[in-house]
């Protein structure tokens, strides 16, 4: 207890004298970077989830062929979750003599729980958000349905046994899809009117949907309950099963952000380790003296632990505040980049994470050297050359390695990725250390021919052998991390921008009859629209794989069964589509026209467990086709261009009856043309994906913002490492500088020597870092982020030159005062 009280008192004295400052600074930046990233990521992820949820009109959606069990709704309400019901069925809608098959959705109050329904007074007009749902007795048909029926606002539509009035025109609703599963026109009505229609009869095909929304924690809890209690035929959908475009963008942004925060954490860990090293160096004498005066080892251990806890707590508080303010400022500064909706408030979880990480970093990186400090022999008061005994390698590096491994796993949550990342990092650090050792060895030999300043600088390198190696590792890791993030950030950002140009098709046209194909294209072109590629679309069912009926096969992935048991959209094409990349096999040549070949997407390959050369049998319009898998394609689903899981070689399906699909960009205000088009080509289904595109753009804007700002934080963490690395040898430098100047060296000579040393360190670290970053970027872009990797000579140049300059600049900034200080002051202080 006495030791505890005394160590607290000692601690407060250390605070006052500023001795804990460097360690505190490094850790504060670490926590600020972490919590800043954490706050921002939590806000952006919440925004992205909310936006993705809009596609479901809920956070969670239960779909069933039977009425939803009322206990499910009761349980949801008990869990504090908002609910709504949506009953979907197909029925012919009449207006006088006109009729049209339509997809009818009867919804209850509260629908949609996420996103908005947009309505207008004219078909194909720009919609405005609707207030609530259609009142009883009223329906909201969509533009296509109303155009096909020739109706208008106020018209009376017959649906089953009921007659209902057209109140508004439905322009869009959040859950209309984007996956092109529903090809029919839409009608939204109040669920209270459903019994009057008498449409639901025994045997009717009805889809019952229950929508749920609430706070993420409550939804997660309820989802667990629902998964355990749902009936086998019921299907649960959440954000992960929404449109592939948004999911893909969100996934990649998420992976990048996790990676970036991991890099920031590792950089800060390096800074903490270096600061702790310096702290220990500065306190060797004090601890030896304490022991001479009678302090026990236990007391010095207490002192070290208490100091660390206090530093962690203080850094957590200051760092969290800085992190919060920084991200708030960033969001404010970049508000123009964000789409209309504001970001939801940040959660407090990052503060806890920041504190825990600070404690973990200190425990792993600073506690071992501080505990080692307690082993300084008291005899050091008489013999200054004595330090603590060398620690066991396991004790010195074990905790740090364990903390790093834990942090990496915590971020990547994937064994394969974890092993790859850890092995890569270890190899890189080993390479840096080895190169450092070689440099130090070579420097000793090179210095003979150099001038006095360079000789002094280079001599410093080889004399501080261990320090120099540590500094090369720290500089190299810092530069590599920054370069790596820089390269990936550019790849990611560029990929997104390329995939979403301003004139991206915003309308999809499906079901174009072969005989109207040319007239349809001409119609679009005449109205200034540029149709993209026109692809045939044929419905077919997979019946056998390698001669075995699919009904008898078991698939590892449940999606395989879904694929095998339902009709697929098939196409044929001579050319490989944009956004498609062959990852196995070969795309067919013109000479292979008419051959029974098929190309499948990687999803299809994985879910059905296919291999190159497998024989697939399809039933297409009653005719059997057996084809061989000639290639496997990686499809960029977020490219917003028509894409198919299965593509046949040309010349095989030409004779099979099918329709065509295409997409085109139509400028805003093309409503009248579309209404006319719907009348002229009644069988063509028109999909307006403007809202979906806007959603995806908004998600990507947020992702880009996050990526940029995380990069900013990482840069800050990298600079802290540089500063900590430079600071670590500052005391020794101060003394040397004073000695040299006492011996008659000019200030400039000393400064040039210091800069020479840092230049050698910086350029070499930059060189290895550029090589390391290029290799790591290749693996990360191609294996983790699914991007195409382009080697960047520019990045290498920036690494070498920029890294060198940054190290020189930080070295100069940190040692400037050392050189400026009058030598006598330094020497006196040291005596």
């Amino acid at each position: 207890m006495r030791a505890l009280l005394l160590s607290i008192r000692m601690l407060s004295r250390e605070w006052r004298s500023g001795e804990l400052g460097v360690l505190l600074l490094a850790l504060t930046v670490a926590v600020a970077a972490l919590t800043g990233v954490g706050f921002l990521v939590s806000r952006i992820s919440a925004a992205v989830s909310m936006q993705a949820g809009q596609v479901l009109a809920a956070d969670l959606r239960l779909e069933s062929p039977q009425p939803i069990d009322p206990t499910v709704i009761a349980q949801a309400r008990k869990s504090g979750i908002r609910t709504a019901l949506a009953t979907g069925l197909l029925s012919v809608v009449f207006q006088g003599d006109q009729s049209q098959l339509a997809d009818i959705d009867a919804v209850t109050g509260g629908y949609p729980l996420r996103g908005t329904v947009k309505v207008a007074d004219q078909p194909f007009d720009r919609g405005a958000p609707a207030r609530g749902i259609p009142p009883p007795g009223e329906v909201w048909p969509d533009s296509r349905l109303l155009a096909a029926l020739g109706g208008r606002l106020g018209s009376r539509l017959s649906i089953g046994a009921a007659e209902l009035r057209v109140g508004r025109v439905l322009i869009s609703r959040p859950d209309e899809g984007g996956t092109f599963t529903g090809l029919l026109p839409n009608l939204l009505m109040n669920a209270a009117d459903l019994p009057r229609t008498q449409l639901i009869q025994p045997g009717s095909r009805v889809s019952y949907g229950a929508l749920f929304a609430g706070s993420p924690a409550r939804v997660a809890g309820f989802k667990g309950w629902l998964e355990a209690h749902r009936r086998p035929q019921e299907r649960l959908r959440d954000i992960s099963s929404t449109s592939p475009q948004i999911k893909s963008a969100v996934d990649r942004a998420g992976r990048f952000l996790s990676l970036a925060s991991l890099v920031a954490v590792l950089l800060c860990a390096t800074a903490v380790a270096m600061s702790a090293r310096r702290y220990v160096g500065r306190h060797l004498d004090s601890v030896a003296l304490l022991k001479t005066l009678g302090a026990t080892r236990r007391f010095t251990v207490w002192l070290a632990t208490l100091q660390l806890l206090a530093v962690a707590a203080l850094a957590a508080v200051i760092g969290s505040v800085i992190g919060y303010v920084a991200q708030a400022w960033l969001v404010y500064a970049l508000r123009g980049l964000l789409a209309s909706r504001a970001l939801p408030p940040a959660s407090l979880v990052p503060v806890a994470m920041g504190f825990l990480t600070a404690v973990a970093l200190l425990a792993g990186f600073a506690l071992p050297p501080l505990l080692q400090l307690s082993r300084v022999p008291a005899l050091r008061v008489l013999r200054r050359d004595l330090g603590p005994p060398r620690p066991l390698v396991l004790l010195a590096f074990g905790p740090a390695a364990a903390v790093v491994a834990l942090l990496i796993y915590w971020v990547v949550l994937d064994w394969k990725l974890f092993l790859g990342f850890t092995a890569g990092l270890a190899a890189f650090i080993a390479l840096l250390a080895l190169t450092g050792a070689v440099l130090v060895l070579a420097a000793g030999r090179l210095r003979e021919g150099a001038g006095v300043a360079w000789r002094y600088g280079i001599a410093s390198l080889s004399r501080r052998r261990a320090d120099s190696i540590v500094q090369i590792v720290a500089f190299g890791t810092g530069i590599m991390a920054l370069l790596l993030l820089g390269i990936i950030r550019n790849d990611l950002d560029g990929d997104w921008r390329r995939s979403l140009p301003a004139d991206l098709p915003n309308y999809f046209f499906i079901n174009i009859p072969p005989q109207s194909r040319n007239a349809f294209i001409a119609y679009l072109q005449a109205r200034g629209a540029r149709p993209s590629v026109v692809l045939p679309m044929i419905r077919g069912r997979l019946t056998a794989i390698n001669g075995r009926q699919v009904e008898t096969l078991r698939f590892a992935d449940h999606r395989g069964e879904e694929f095998a048991n339902r009709e697929q959209n098939l196409t044929w094409s001579a050319a490989l589509g944009a956004g498609n990349r062959v990852v196995a096999g070969r795309w067919w040549t013109p000479a292979q026209d008419g051959q029974p070949l098929v190309s499948v997407s990687t999803e299809f390959e994985k879910w059905l467990g296919l291999h190159l050369g497998d024989r697939l049998t399809f039933d297409i319009a009653g005719e059997t086709f057996t084809v061989r898998v000639a290639s496997i394609r990686k499809v960029k689903w977020d490219s917003f261009r028509p894409n198919f899981f299965i593509v046949f070689a040309p010349g095989l399906l030409d004779k099979v009856a099918g329709t065509y699909l295409t997409s085109a960009y139509l400028a805003p205000g093309a409503a009248r043309s579309l209404a006319e088009l719907a009348r002229q080509f009644p069988s063509v289904s028109i999909f307006d994906i403007d809202d979906l595109l806007a959603d995806v753009r908004s998600v990507m804007d947020k992702a880009v913002l996050a990526v940029q700002s995380v990069f900013g934080f990482t840069l800050l963490a990298g600079l802290t490492v540089l500063l900590a690395a430079v600071q670590s040898s500052r005391d020794e430098r101060r003394f040397e500088s004073a000695m040299l100047r006492t011996l008659g060296a000019r200030r400039r000579t000393v400064l040039t020597g210091v800069l020479a040393e840092f230049a050698a360190l910086g350029i070499l670290s930059g060189l290895i870092a550029a090589a390391g970053a290029s290799v790591a970027a290749y693996f990360l872009t191609t294996r983790v982020l699914d991007l195409r990797y382009a080697f960047s000579a520019w990045a290498c140049l920036v690494g070498v030159a920029g890294g060198g300059l940054m190290v020189i600049a930080s070295g100069w900034l940190a040692t400037r005062s050392v050189v400026r200080q009058p030598p006598l002051a330094t020497l006196r202080a040291d005596i």
């Binding site: 006495r2 005394l6 008192r9 004295r13 250390e14 006052r16 004298s17 001795e19 004498d285 004090s286 003296l289 304490l290 022991k291 001479t292 005066l293 009678g294 302090a295 026990t296 080892r297 236990r298 007391f299 022999p377 008291a378 005899l379 008061v381 008489l382 013999r383 202080a829 005596i831």
Partner: protein
Amino acid sequence: MNINPRQNTSAQAQVRSSVLKAEHLTKQVQSPEGLLTIVHDVSLDIASGESIAVVGPSGAGKSTLLALLAGLDLPTTGRVFLEGRDLTQLDEDGRALVRAERVGFVFQSFHLIPSLTALENVMLPLELAGHARARHAALETLRQVGLKDRARHYPRQLSGGEQQRVALARAFVTEPAVLFADEPTGNLDAATGGRIGQLLFEMNARSRTTLVLVTHDSDLATRCERIVHMDAGGLR
């Protein structure tokens, strides 16, 4: 009558009880040239209240002997008894406790903790020993060395002489049984060194502490009751 203090010492030592006793102390270390003997078979008996100077050329092993006597280091062979307790049988923490309660130090390079003020430096050994009125006692001792007004100054704000006076205050504040001084004037100019030496002996006389002094300063050495010469690790 001119009394030679050195002739008097052994007689006095026999009267007074022994406070520090070294038996056949030898210290060897491994060096690139092989095993190096720094202290060779030294036996010494120091009486309570006695002042003893260890003199000799550089590298004679004086500081190592002092470290062994103070329990800062352990001998390769031989034993050290401080107030009857065998320091060589104690572990590091055990020796630290003995130092906290019974030993004081003054060093050539002062060894003040730079992050603590003069007062805090003086308070430190009292706090380590669990003294209840550390502040009061430390201030009183600082007054005795003439630095009460500089109590809140950090070491870097004090001159060399002042720093050594703080070190003296820190050494005497616990009223130790034995005070070890390693070249206490070695880093000071002659005049300041003289004043510090004067202060050291005054305080020593006042507190009746046993003084073990390692020095090159012959003036300082002659003030001691006994002088032992050391050369090549052994006593002459």
